[in-house]
């Protein structure tokens, strides 16, 4: 049980005449303006194969997210990385989101276009599980985004008006398990794909700053490519990013439970953001997209 409530961290003054007060706000964007009704576009349910971690129980994560004022979380499944029976993975995800969390979790099932009859998985995600989008793991499923089957999948998703979340990485490749053959995901091909599929909506998950910076022209050219902030780092990184990529295309994501939720939450504190930007990143953009 967490014994350090976030409000305590924000409010309790330090002792001592020369002690630095906690969170001494320097601008209008006081952290108490973290909006109610936050949306986290990047959480994952069930268990990471290589480690047990806090919040890898669905109810535990739901309680934790609610403590931070999150009332919607877009959820994929860790099972999607290595299971081949994707139908069962998506069925379990849909059921888990229905049964647990009291409506907090929105399921994003997976489609692996390298599997036989993948289009049936897409159909079920949309028509049977009523998912608003899908989450792809090309680095774990071993395909480039411009593979013919991948393009076919993206076309089909666009026709169904499904948001496509593309996970670029799950963990630091330098520290991955030696048996995991994770392939880097090249996103530059998305420029032409988005050009030829104007109805396609893509969200890059777990993109580090250097990846986003290289993709700035793509974000400027295409209004329906989005990213989350979970892997963004560097001093006051969010503040910098929204000067480079339109604010409407940047969303709050935590990569929970793999990362501490506090990492993304505190990034919003470290950056100087006006109220309108904060609300856009933390909830309004998500509500507009899905």
């Amino acid at each position: 049980m967490k014994d350090w409530n976030r409000r305590e961290f924000l409010k309790v003054p330090l002792l001592g005449a020369t002690a630095v007060p906690l969170f001494r706000p320097q601008s209008y964007s006081e952290f108490d303006e973290w909006p109610d009704g936050a949306v986290d576009v990047n959480v994952t349910l069930f268990r990471w194969p290589f480690r047990q971690m806090h919040w890898d129980d669905t109810d535990e994560m739901a309680d934790g997210l609610r403590q931070f004022g999150v009332n919607r979380a877009w959820a994929g499944s860790f099972e999607a990385l290595f299971h081949r029976d994707i139908g069962a993975v998506n069925l379990r995800l849909a059921r888990e989101c229905r049964k647990r969390g009291n409506g907090l979790f929105v399921p994003f099932g997976t489609v692996n276009p390298m599997l036989p009859d993948w289009s049936e998985d897409l159909r079920r995600c949309h028509e049977e599980h009523n998912m608003p989008g899908i989450r792809l793991y090309p680095g774990y499923h071993g395909y480039p985004l411009d593979h013919p089957s991948s393009i076919e999948l993206l076309e089909a998703a666009a026709e169904r008006d499904l948001l496509v979340q593309i996970v670029l990485v799950m963990e630091d490749p330098r520290t991955a398990h030696p048996l995991v053959n994770m392939v880097p995901v090249a996103i530059d091909v998305l420029d032409s794909i988005l050009g030829s599929l104007p109805d396609l909506k893509i969200m890059l998950l777990n993109a580090a700053r250097n990846v986003l910076v290289q993709a700035i022209p793509m974000f400027v050219s295409h209004k329906d490519i989005y990213c989350d902030i979970s892997w963004l780092d560097g001093l006051q990184g969010v503040e910098r990013l929204v000067t480079e990529i339109p604010t409407r295309q940047v969303l709050f994501g935590s990569h929970s439970p793999f990362f501490y939720f506090e990492a993304s939450w505190l990034k919003m504190k470290e950056s100087i953001l006006d109220r309108k930007t904060m609300e856009a990143l933390v909830k309004e953009n998500a509500k507009r997209i899905v």
Binding site: P21, L22, F23, P178, D233, L235, F258, A263, L266, E270
Partner: protein, 270 residues
């Protein structure tokens, strides 16, 4: 909660001069409630600096410290590939200057005779020694550490040199990156703490470290400006550990480690 940050840089920060960059760091530190930061290395990275470059890097930090001695402490960047120059810098910056620690990076592994000489001399000054470590996946077949740079140390090598120079105030930097292995590697060398900064905020890291090493052996640092204060503070804030452990990790342990040299230099911690 008095937060001191073990690990900050002038690189990756906005500003044209060391002073401007230091002010930017401190401004962000203010927003996050960080009382004091330790800074090392100059505005541009140098993996294997020649003596002139080494001096230049330390000059930039010295410039950045001026007028901000109540908020920032400096560590001297040394390069065991140039022992004579490194020992000269140690004397200039630490023994006779305001710096309180040493940064060792990737030019030479820490268990080499040259590095051991530098470490031993730093130990004699009570300087805190931040030794960068990683265990990068690489090689054929891939193994942890197989992808390291030729001069890039591992936690195992820190353990080795720490055993040879027990008086050295060594810190195992980055916890080896691959912290599940790094924590285990450093575990037997009970006087060596880990620096937890400069890696992704992966859940479970601090919990494992507290369980296996004890809270007294964990030191918060950020690796800002390449990293943010936010992601690195999150490792402690989000950890399922008692508040008193968080207080130690966020500042108590670093102050305790620095105490001898700060006392020697008349630098107050309050």
């Amino acid at each position: 909660m008095r937060i001191w940050d073990l690990h900050c840089h002038l690189s990756g920060v906005d500003g044209d001069t060391p002073s401007q960059r230091m002010d930017q760091l401190l401004s962000a530190a203010d927003r996050m409630g960080i009382e004091r930061i330790c800074v090392f290395m100059g505005m541009e990275w140098a993996y294997d600096p020649e003596p002139d470059e080494l001096r230049h890097q330390n000059d930039q930090v010295l410039e950045a410290l001026k007028g901000r001695e109540d908020r920032a402490l400096g560590f001297a960047y040394l390069n065991p590939a140039h022992v004579k120059a490194s020992l000269a810098e140690l004397k200039r910056c630490v023994e006779e200057g305001p710096m309180v620690g040493v940064k060792l990076w990737v030019a030479r592994r820490c268990n080499t005779p040259e590095a051991e000489e530098v470490i031993t001399r730093a130990a004699g000054l009570d300087a805190v020694i931040y030794q960068h470590t990683w265990l990068k996946l690489g090689g054929t077949p891939p193994t942890a550490g197989g992808g390291n740079l030729p001069g890039e140390s591992t936690p195992q090598e820190v353990a080795e040199v720490a055993s040879k120079v027990p008086s050295a105030r060594l810190i195992c930097g980055h916890t080896g990156g691959n912290w599940e292995l790094g924590i285990r590697a450093i575990r037997p060398v009970r006087h060596v703490p880990i620096g937890i900064g400069g890696s992704y905020p992966t859940r479970g890291m601090v919990e494992m470290a507290v369980r296996e090493l004890g809270a007294e052996r964990i030191i918060y640092g950020s690796d800002a400006g390449g990293r943010s204060f936010a992601t690195q503070l999150a490792k402690v804030m989000g950890a399922q550990i008692p508040n008193q452990d968080k207080e130690l990790i966020l500042g108590g342990n670093l102050r305790r480690m620095l105490e001898p040299i700060l006392t020697r230099k008349g630098i107050r911690t309050e």
